[in-house]
């Protein structure tokens, strides 16, 4: 059975590279997120350029992974070179199955995509969550709710762990104290933003200098976490 690979890219050069790399596969091209969403109802694979004219590829991956029709399909994101482990980690965290940079190695891309497509047919109904996420020396296990740096277990409170997970999920995005209160504390502004600052200070200190410094204060706006 031939399954189509749905490629969303507005860049003709990127499309040409994909055509060359994925020769022999049934390729369909879409110039925007809107065009892909209109046509692709799941099945096969979607290959998404990180910078589409109407949406970021990373946001589109999260949308497709959250949609029942496309949740179990293979979704790959193509970023600009050079390869960045932080960009790759952020994209996997949003639910991508594969991350590669332009220009892709033709043989490798095709083999990985075919492999993922073959396996996707055998996926269980529930999405398999990885037991552990690695961000260099920082390892986080969502199910066990544990985190470690260089093998040393961190003694995080439940709230600090939730805060760390929220930052990892939203790497590179600016989050205000109000949003953290709402999304992590599940409370309104009446709790007071001082408690956010104090908890973040504690998390920074527990993460140690190498990772604590990745939570940056953006003056007047909130915080941003970049690995």
């Amino acid at each position: 059975m031939t399954r189509a690979v749905h490629c969303a890219t507005a860049d003709p050069a990127a499309a040409a590279l994909l055509r060359a790399a994925l020769k022999g596969l049934d390729l369909r091209f879409y110039p925007s997120a809107a065009a892909l969403l209109k046509v692709w109802k799941g099945g096969g694979a979607a290959l998404i350029d990180a910078s589409l004219p109407d949406m970021s590829g990373r946001d589109l991956v999260a949308v497709l992974r959250g949609a029942p029709r496309t949740a179990r399909s293979v979704i790959a994101l193509a970023g600009p070179g050079p390869y960045s482990p932080a960009a790759a980690a952020a994209c996997f965290d949003n639910g991508a199955d594969e991350y590669f940079t332009f220009p892709p190695d033709p043989g490798l891309l095709k083999a990985r995509l075919l492999n993922l497509m073959a396996r996707s047919g055998r996926r269980p109904a529930a999405a398999e969550a990885p037991a552990e996420h690695s961000f260099g020396a920082l390892k986080v296990s969502p199910e066990a709710r544990t985190a470690s740096v260089k093998g040393m277990q961190l003694r995080l409170t439940a709230l600090e762990f939730d805060l760390l997970m929220y930052f990892l999920k939203n790497q590179g995005r600016v989050v205000s104290r109000g949003v953290l209160l709402e999304q992590v504390w599940r409370q309104g502004l009446e709790t007071g933003t001082r408690s956010v600052d104090k908890r973040i200070e504690a998390l920074r200190s527990k993460l140690g200098r190498a990772f604590g410094s990745k939570i940056r204060t953006v003056f007047g706006l909130g915080y941003i976490f970049r690995l």
Partner: protein, 125 residues
Amino acid sequence: MSRRPKVLVVDDEPDYLRIAARIAAGAGCAVMTAKAALEGVALAAAEPPDLILLDVGLPDISGFEAARRIRRAPATAAVPIIFFTVRSEVDMVSEGLALGAAGYVLKPFDPDELTRRIRAAVSGK
């Protein structure tokens, strides 16, 4: 001297309103803000901006409905709209983009990404 592009930010959440306004100003734009959809529609009609950053879940009417009204008014029919919202359901995203949005940005957003999209939209690229 060329005038600064004007961006209207519509969001009922003060944090996001402030952050988006700051980012738009940082992108070299003059900024107007509104905390509700109808206020935004009225502001856009009175002083047509070069770009509208529009939340979807607004207290009076939805951002999508506001976008339809903005599109219907001749003075604002061609103003690009970027939705910025927490609503990541595929039907919502499809509906927003089908309204002819110049962009759909999920909150919380990457400030660099929003800056790029604002610059591209106001320069017509």
